[in-house]
């Protein structure tokens, strides 16, 4: 709480033009980041996802849109949850799926990343789903694949996690309809969160009424106001009148870095308890990208309570990923 604390900078990421995400006809080709995706395209992805998620919640139709196509899950950073949702989305689209764990198998024989990619591509891969601990890796890969191959970013370093942000927008829209009158608060470790960065882009693009971030000074990047958010350091003030609360996952490894006094202290000030939840609108929904640290960023009674839509987010994630995959590959069957 030092007065002179200098907020850390947003980690550098080369501001390449994101035009690469579209082909010369203006069709979506890669999904690397929300930046550069127009509100019309975002809405189109959400509408397409509606077509996949059937009327009865949590049921997704199996469709033959990507039959004969091959989706390759490239995991440079292991994540059962993310790998699984993309694998399921691809299978629901009837694609063949290959899981390649490059953390363990690649380069053991001294092969470069690019050689590995070109080889897998030569096996007639049609799409790479890339998760990488380094910011920009999916973009680098998209720059080097052949014209017929699409790349989807499944999370890169601190940079972006666009499908997570899209499924969050989808979930908000399902519950709240129009984005214009909404107040949305993102709470917690904004600094290290690729999810938060993508959420800020998607909600601003969709013209959300007011977008807030709530966090201690040490967990908010410098100049974040330039991204179009209001900054709060106090939960009571930040949650007032909000319609949507998005809790971020607290990376426990940050504790060691001295950015936080303790988990208990964080929970006391920023953990979403029933008591703090009462400060928001009575019909506010509670979201979390998972996996949640119960008792650190969220109270169990809130995570499992009537305002929580956390598990719906997971369900919606399948449909949204199906939409992103099929649109990138030029198949629009799911559109409603």
């Amino acid at each position: 709480m030092a007065v002179n604390f200098v907020r850390p900078k947003i980690p550098k990421f080369t501001p390449d033009p994101w035009a690469i995400q579209f082909d010369q006809h203006g069709n979506l080709k890669h999904l690397l980041t929300i930046e550069g995706i127009s509100p019309q395209w975002i809405t189109r992805i959400l509408d397409t996802a509606e077509g996949f998620v059937s009327v009865t919640d949590r049921e997704v139709k199996k469709v033959p849109l990507l039959r004969g196509r091959t989706v390759v899950n490239l995991c440079f950073e292991s994540s059962t949850r993310t790998r699984t949702t993309f694998e399921l989305a691809a299978k629901r689209l009837s694609a063949d799926v290959l899981n390649i764990n490059l953390a363990t198998s690649a380069t053991k024989k001294g092969e470069s990343l690019l050689d590995t990619l070109r080889n897998i591509q030569a096996m007639q891969a049609d799409m790479f789903v890339v998760r990488h601990e380094q910011s920009g890796a999916p973009h680098f890969i998209a720059q080097h694949v052949e014209p017929h191959v699409s790349v989807i970013n499944a999370g890169d370093g601190w940079h972006a996690h666009p499908t997570q942000a899209l499924l969050d927008a989808f979930t908000v829209r399902r519950h709240k309809g129009d984005f214009a009158p909404l107040r949305i608060a993102i709470v917690g470790d904004v600094l290290h969160s690729r999810v938060a960065r993508s959420q800020i882009h998607v909600f601003n693009s969709l013209n959300v009424g007011e977008l807030r971030v709530i966090a201690p000074r040490t967990l908010i990047p410098q100049d974040i106001e330039h991204m179009g958010v209001r900054v709060f350091h106090d939960m009571r003030a930040g949650l007032r009148d909000v319609d949507v609360i998005i809790m971020l996952r607290l990376q426990r490894e940050r504790m060691d870095a001295g950015l936080l006094p303790s988990e208990e202290e964080f929970y006391r000030l920023y953990g979403l308890t029933e008591e703090k939840l009462a400060w928001a609108k009575p019909d506010a929904i509670v979201m979390h990208p998972g996996p949640a640290n119960r008792g650190v960023e969220i109270e169990s009674r809130v995570a499992d309570g009537p305002q929580s839509v956390i598990l719906e987010q997971v369900s919606n994630g399948i449909g949204v990923r199906m939409a992103a995959m099929s649109l990138c590959m030029g198949r629009k069957g799911g559109e409603s």
Copy 2:
């Protein structure tokens, strides 16, 4: 061979009502244990399996019964063999299959078992196949899943392995027809065997003429007679006039616990050699759940001999698992 040896107790497992295995219409929903499954239902599962296993042995038809459904293999305890048979059974039913090894991937991010399950469930899983080193884990999971999700126990601790027992019953029926006149002997480490426990339940439910267990005192649980079996400590007496011999796998790690003098001694007394096999009926069949320790519980010439049906058990396992899966999910197409 001490005279005062006190037989160890059956490991405690909370005697929850197994009614949870059926829905309110009396349809099979979960398969957690043979207890609570009526002889009519057991027979129905076996009949359904007959429909999947075609006339020519070892060929299984691919059917579209579970197309669009997702079966999740949850391995908390690694087992290539069991994982593989369930994976194959699900694929033959045209389901999408996800393998999730929770021993290595889960809870690394501090997520609880229940959170993990709810998340996978939210991805529209329709069935969990659960293998867990703790007795009761599949039952616990079945109590917490949503109404549309089925759970199959693929082996839990010392407790149960119902699909193994069902495929054993299937194999016996194929060879011997009616169960009423049969004498069946289960030989070996009954104490630690979830397979033995499920076999005793299934054969008693099917009203087998006489069910025997043959083992040293140290490997038979207390009060096992209450489960409706005759106990023998001598192979010659125990094998007399039996139609079916089921050898159990000897868990070598038990040796260290001092329950057995040595593998050689065990083999001398209880290993199924050609010589001992001659004490049973001439047309007795020899079974083993695999993998067999040759030279410990069974002689190679017997395992590979004309009376052995060990590999048929493996083949039948696919059809029986297809039957259990499709019945639990309310699809009866395989029924003959």
Copy 3:
């Protein structure tokens, strides 16, 4: 460069008759080695592959030839690349695929190789794709499987890698047409290369005009001239007038064995640079089984240059493996 250097012997491999590769009607059943496969059959495999690889390069049709069949990838020696190409080929044929990593999972419970195989076979496997560090393992397995099961060698020890040699022949034929007038040079570590051994067999069988090997004395097996190749120790002489240059992968672990002075020295003498490439015919194509050690056996500008067909080899590998699999299983749909 000692004058009296004695060239090492070809590693012993029992010269079993390869007749086992065909059934009594003369149909291909297993693919274990190129030896014993007639030029007519080799041509038939290549023609069938043409039927799978469509007119537009790098696109492979999905066909239902092996629907309901189960292909088991048995990896005793880990290789993401090989496992992946066979998995994709099987999926394009609509087979169900099981990946079993026996290095990590098998025999942990004390099961023998044969028991493991029989068990997987009893699960209605129709084909084993076997990769093993020991020469002859796939042949051993083929001798022990049931009549309806096919075995494909995906690389065994120093012995053979027949599908790699076939895809190389396929790639050469696509670029050069007729084999008779061609001069082909295989360059590098011939001694330890199962790929080289299979290539020599396939190109001799196809009656290539002249087949050369170029390598230092320490990396060429004794009596290799008996296999029908001309031996060169000098790149300039060896590359003169050749139409096809096949670089082999240099196993870095061989360095330690003292067979080579250093990577730099090897590169200086045998590494394929643009300068050395100019010694071959102007339209010579450059091949490599991958993964290539850039700067050791090949210069990056050559590997990525206009004469390189390295990535085409990978693409062709899918179609050639589909052809081998479907022919072994008696399905000929892809034939053109």
